[in-house]
Structure formats: structure tokens, C-alpha cells
Symmetry: C2
């Protein structure tokens, strides 16, 4: 089989005509699909049914310590929920704060605190001329959205197969005091599904930041979110809190997680973990912001998930629903695109996405063509700060939400769009 | 009956000795009571039992529009919850945003936005030399905590019987561009239980602020929280949103409310209402901070409370539990303190508190004495910015949490403390 580049212009034109016909046929079907976000499917949400009824009586509303979860109090969360979320994040319960429905809110609020009050007695960022964040790319669009919202200058750090390019990270962090943070999704990263290697984690923990208030924003959003049946040893993420402490940097990392993709995206709980000192500092801010987060929902989660083993059992059920979807997309993309020399992607072992790299200059076109035919993908460029993918090549595919039938249609359509955009690009350059 | 001031020093000393003996007797009982916060009682929380089971099946998790509340989406809240909370706040649903467990968080975040981004295109407050807020006193300590946390200069505005001293408010707001906000609890105010008169509301709506980004922070925390059996016509609060719009100031007010004292303080929903323009601006910030608040809890509230009439019916049940407590405290205080000329208070028609004014210079002493005997009251001075009650006279009494037996003990102890502190103060000045 020849790659497209090896073919003559006439051959390419013939293929293009064929693919365009296919595209028009699919378009005529009037499909309407949204694969723009990593949303759990109905079947995944149904897995948490017992959480609806695990508190049914007034007498059920008390935690183990006898606290009435219906009333005010417990700023840091109920102890059993702190334990549960701490275990999920690799943090002791007393270094874990349980919050509301969205870890994104904790991250936003943490950046906001950096601006309004600063960390550990350092100058509030609002009073500095310039604040910079490192952004491993491609990455999570909402992270970049937060820092863009606060006017932070974002610097792209290329992702390698085992994590961010640490030579670059060290160069920036250890030399530029304006670099105050880095966004990390260390396990099954959004969008590539990469888990940072032990070596990468160790290099993070050993950073010697030029800024005393530099913080690693460690968003462990997919810490237990396997797709494969068993966890691969490569995905056994090193404990950043422990490594930072062991390397004399106990306060350098903020860890975030949530149950959005364990129980309910629209009714979960989230958590923050860090050193005792940082947790105390955060509570010192939070005490002005809230009396307590929703303790009833914390209690519901504890009663339903029970412990870290309960969480892992729940994630096996999610994986069983997710796996066929990822395999189907992989199968179709392989069948349609393999050997054409126009793209690359890796089937991830966990997380929510397939990170697809088209030929340079094609991503935007592919996403637009898909949209015209009824398939909404994540906007091209979304995985980069300022929505600017310098190569215009990365597309995030989110297969979790649709059923298999719909997913097949979507993947077929996607493959056709990739082919057309690639063919036109190659012909353009001939 | 003579007031204490009319008595001779010897008489006062004799009474003091008697009261001190009573104090020691009560102290010996080893009571342990917390009346520091306006916490609902167990019986009040039990009223919302049906909210625990109104979503029991996967099929129950959809709102009227068919949205799966378990999943991501609906930044501003589900439509039925926006309608419910809008009706509670006197705002159209499309001018209402439903948030998480605590309206305090919305207020904090709103002030934070003023600092980091500013309102309506005006300079972010963080970039100004001075930001001032007006604080009707006595008022809600957590309001003052928020603005103190952000370094705002707080200016005391005396409360009159129908609301804040509007002459002073107008003088500050209409002349000083550094005055960016005012904290208001317009109905059954914390702590006095005062409802702003229609005239006061109208004068608010007619303000001509020197600062284009001046905002009224209208915390309608007790909008439906009656204690009496029926609402008094004086408590029919004018609609500030409508009045501001009618007076050409549509964007001048932010309205806040929650169900913390309607359903669960530890598992309720909160809401923000304002002009369409302001709501759009807020959503523009929120979209970086959260994907959606807990929609499951929003749906639970809609299913349980149904509509504004459902809310009012629920509040009748609360009132039936609250009323005997307020009447008991009133009865004891009347019996023990009436006619002694050492204090004043008003039995409120709604809200959560009795605002008690002791003789100047006595509040701190009374609170400390009560604490030593096992009764924790709200810290003296808490109802004032910087915890500084210039007269050291105001004490907030929160009778909602204890049972009647405990409350009787607490009120007896409180009365003794008031007498002792007053006697000592009078004797000091003889």
C-alpha cells in the first residue's frame, strides 16, 4: 500500500473525488453527534444508582463522627470523605480538603488566590508585571482557559511519551522567577493518555524554582480511569506529594481530583491535597468563602464508594463500558487511515480521549468538515494555550458519550474528513 | 420597680452578690451550649426528609427539559431551579443563576471578581489605591469577613428601624468613587430582624453612585424566614431589581439567596440574580471556573419544594419550630431584665436572631462570662467590621439550635451575665 505522498496527483485526485462523494453521502444522512467533551455516557452514569438511595432516612444523615451532615460546619470536609479522597490522591486525610462538584473550581480559586493574596507570604501575583505558567501541550483546554482568564502568559512545553519535556521545564522553572506554575495531568493525560514516568515525577520533585511561590498544579483527573482491563505497570504514577517532600520541596505541589467521572459529572465531589502548611493556608482563605461544601453529597459518596477498593471496582465497570468504544474507533481509524502516511495517534490505556495528529495545517479543516456533516468535535487548537495549535494538527477525539452505532458513524465520517483534508493539502503543495 | 441606675450603691452591691451566687450555681451545672451561629435545629432539618428520596431511580435524574442532571452542562443551573430560586428572589429565571451549597461563596467570588477583573469594563479593584464598602451595623460578620479579607476599607452605617441610615448612604455613594459596594440583608436583617421599608428600598434604587461600578450586595438570606404565624405587611420587601430598573439603575444590584435555612445548611443550593447584562457578565467569568454546579441537588430541590408556594409551606413548618424558642427567650429576658434600664432588644418577626443591646462597654464581658459558664455566644463585636463594636454593646442571640430545655438554661444564664456586667459597670462609674 502506498502512502498518499507516494501517489501521483492524478491518483490523489481520483481518491479525493471518491472520498468527497462518501462525505456527501454521510452528510445527507443528517447525523447529529457531539463528541466535543469527555462526557460519561448514560450507561456509565447508571452505574452509580445506589448513590441515590444510600441516604434515605433522617437517621442516615450523620457521618461516623456523629456530625449532622445536613447542618453547617466541617470546612475541610467530613473526615471519612477526606480519607476517601486522600486515598484517591495519595495524600493523608489531614492534608486533603473536600470541596464541591468541580475540581476546576478549586483550580480556578487557587489561581485567583495567587492573584489576590499570593502564596506563603509572597507578593500577590496581581501586583507583579508578569506571571507565567508552563503548559504541556497538547493539554486540557479548561486549564489554559483559567490562566488566560487571569492574563497569565502561557508557555508551551512539548509533551514527550513519558511526560512534559523536563529539560525545558527545568530551564524555565529554575531560572525565571515569573514562572509561577505549570499545569499537569500526570496520569492518562488529557488528551494523549500519557502517564508521567517515575523519572519525570522525580525531576518535578527536584525542581529548584527561581520563584519561591512556584507551584505545580497536579490535576490527577484520571488517576483511576483505566480503559484496559488491568492497569499497566507503566501507569503506576509516582506519588508527587511524597516525592516533593522527600526532595525538600513539600509545599511545591497542589493536587486536584474529583469524582466527576467516577460517580456523577453533574453531582460529584472534588478535592485538593497538599502539604500541611499549604492546606492550612488554603483553609485560611476558604473560611471567608464558605462555611462548608455540600456534606450530604460527601456522605453519599462515602456510603456508596466506601473506600479506594470500592472506587477501583467502580472504575472496572466504567472501563468495561469505555473499552469497546475506544477499540471501535481504533479499528475504524486503523482500517481507513493506516499506511496512508497522513496521521498518527495512540490508543490510550486510560483517560477519556484519543489524541489524533493530522498532517500539519489540516486539523481546523477536518473539524469544520465534520461539523458541517453533523459531528461536533472539540475545536481544533483547543488543546493549546490561546486555542493556537502552531501546527494546526492536533484533534481530540472523545468517544465516551455516544453509543457504538453512533460512534461507528462518527468515526467513519471523521476518517473521510481526514482523508479529504490531507488529500487537498498534499495536492495544494504539489 | 427601680432601674439599676436609680438604686443606691449598697443596693446594687447586694443585688450583685445575689446574681454572682446565681452565676456560680449555674456554672456548677456544667452546661455546654453553643448559640454562636444561626444553625437550624435537628427538627428543622428533619423537615426535608422527602428530599432524600425524591430522586431514587436512574430515570428520576432528568429535569423537565430532558437534561440528564448527572452529567456535565447547564452552567447557569437547570431551568426549573432557576425559576424556583428566581421566584424566591423576585427575579425572572433568565436573570437567575443557581450555584452550589453556599451563597457566601457567590458573594466572595463576586467581590473577588471585582478585584481581579472589575465590573462592566471598569478598572479591576486590585489596581485601585482604595476600595471602600459601606457596612450597615450591626450586620452579618461573614459579609465583613469577605471584604476585610480583600483589604477593603469598611465604613459603618448605623441601622435605623426601617433600614440603613440612607442620608449617610447617599452621602457616601453619591460622592465618593472609592465606595464600590454596600452589604445589605434587606429582610429580617442579621441580627436585628429589620425589614427595609419601601422608602429605603426606593432610595437605594435612586442612588446616583460616583463610581460607575458601585454595586449593592443584596443578600436576601431570610426572604421567606418568618417566625410569626403570618407575614406582617411591614415585611413585604419591595423588589430591588424592579426598583433599580425603574429608576434607570438596572445593573446596580446583585441579589443573593440560598436554601440553607429552607432545606439543608450543609446541602442546599444558592443563587445569584441581577440584570441580564450582569448575569451575562457573571456567566462569562463562571465559564472558566466551573462546568456546572451540582445539578442533582438542584433537581432534588425542585422536586421537593416544587414552587414558591411549596417554599412558603415549608417555612411555616420552620416557623412553628422557631416561634416557641424566640418566645421563650423573650419571656425570660422580659422577666429578668425588663425595667432595669440596662438593655434593649426587639423580638423579631423573622430571621434567626435577637439583637441584644447591653449597656455600653458590657458586651465583651457578658459574652466572656457566658462562655466561662459553658454558653458560647457569637463573639462580641462580631456584628461590626473588624470585630469592633465601638460601643461594645451589641450581642447576637441565636436561639434556633438548642431545644427548649437547654434554651431556658441558656437564657437564664445570659440574663444573669447581663445583670452582673451591668451592675459592675454602674458601680465602676459611681
Amino acid at each position: 500500500m502506498k502512502t498518499y505522498s507516494e501517489r501521483t496527483a492524478d491518483e490523489l485526485k481520483a481518491i479525493l473525488a471518491e472520498e468527497k462523494e462518501k462525505y456527501e453521502q454521510i452528510k445527507a444522512l443528517g447525523i447529529k453527534l457531539d463528541m466535543s467533551r469527555g462526557k460519561p455516557s448514560k450507561e456509565q452514569l447508571d452505574l452509580s444508582k445506589d448513590m441515590l438511595t444510600c441516604i434515605s432516612e433522617n437517621a442516615d444523615c450523620y457521618d461516623e463522627a456523629g456530625t449532622d451532615c445536613r447542618n453547617y460546619g466541617s470546612l475541610a470536609g467530613i473526615p471519612s470523605a477526606r480519607k476517601l479522597m486522600g486515598d484517591l490522591m495519595g495524600a493523608p486525610a489531614d492534608q486533603t480538603i473536600v470541596c464541591g462538584n468541580a475540581s476546576l473550581t478549586i483550580m480556578f480559586d487557587t489561581v485567583a488566590r495567587g492573584f489576590t493574596h499570593g502564596f506563603a507570604g509572597n507578593t500577590p501575583w496581581a501586583k507583579l508585571d508578569k506571571v507565567k505558567f508552563l503548559c504541556p501541550v497538547p493539554g486540557y483546554d479548561r486549564h489554559f482557559g483559567v490562566t488566560e482568564h487571569f492574563g497569565v502568559e502561557m508557555i508551551n512545553i512539548p509533551m514527550k511519551s513519558d511526560g512534559p519535556d523536563m529539560d525545558l521545564v527545568e530551564q524555565y522553572v529554575n531560572n525565571d522567577p515569573a514562572v509561577k506554575g505549570i499545569w499537569c495531568v500526570p496520569k492518562y493525560s488529557n488528551p494523549q493518555g500519557i502517564t508521567y514516568s517515575a523519572e519525570v515525577v522525580e525531576r518535578f520533585a527536584k525542581l529548584k524554582p527561581a520563584a519561591p511561590d512556584f507551584r505545580i498544579f497536579w490535576d490527577n483527573a484520571y488517576g483511576v480511569h483505566i480503559i484496559t482491563e488491568n492497569e499497566d505497570p507503566r501507569d503506576d504514577l509516582a506519588n508527587i506529594l511524597e516525592r516533593c517532600e522527600a526532595n525538600g520541596n513539600p509545599d511545591m505541589v497542589f493536587v486536584f481530583a474529583s469524582t466527576s467521572k467516577i460517580t456523577y459529572a453533574g453531582g460529584g465531589i472534588s478535592a485538593f491535597a497538599s502539604s500541611k502548611k499549604n492546606v492550612e493556608e488554603m483553609l485560611g482563605h476558604m473560611t471567608y468563602q464558605i462555611i462548608s461544601h455540600d456534606k450530604m453529597n460527601q456522605l453519599r459518596h462515602v456510603k456508596f464508594l466506601k473506600d479506594i477498593d470500592g472506587i477501583k471496582a467502580q472504575m472496572q465497570k466504567h472501563a468495561a463500558l469505555m473499552r469497546p468504544k475506544f477499540l471501535l474507533v481504533d479499528e475504524i481509524l486503523k482500517k481507513e487511515l493506516d499506511g496512508l502516511g497522513i496521521c498518527s495517534y495512540t490508543l490510550p490505556r486510560g483517560g477519556y480521549f484519543i489524541s489524533f495528529d493530522a498532517m500539519n495545517g489540516c486539523a481546523r479543516k477536518i473539524v469544520n468538515m465534520a461539523k458541517e456533516a453533523g459531528l461536533v468535535l472539540t475545536g481544533a487548537g483547543a488543546s493549546y494555550p490561546y486555542h493556537n495549535d502552531p501546527d494546526d494538527s492536533n484533534i481530540r477525539i472523545a468517544p465516551s458519550l455516544p453509543g457504538l452505532d453512533e460512534l461507528k458513524k462518527a468515526a467513519d465520517l471523521f476518517a473521510v474528513c481526514v482523508k479529504i483534508a490531507s488529500l487537498e493539502k498534499i495536492l495544494e503543495n504539489r
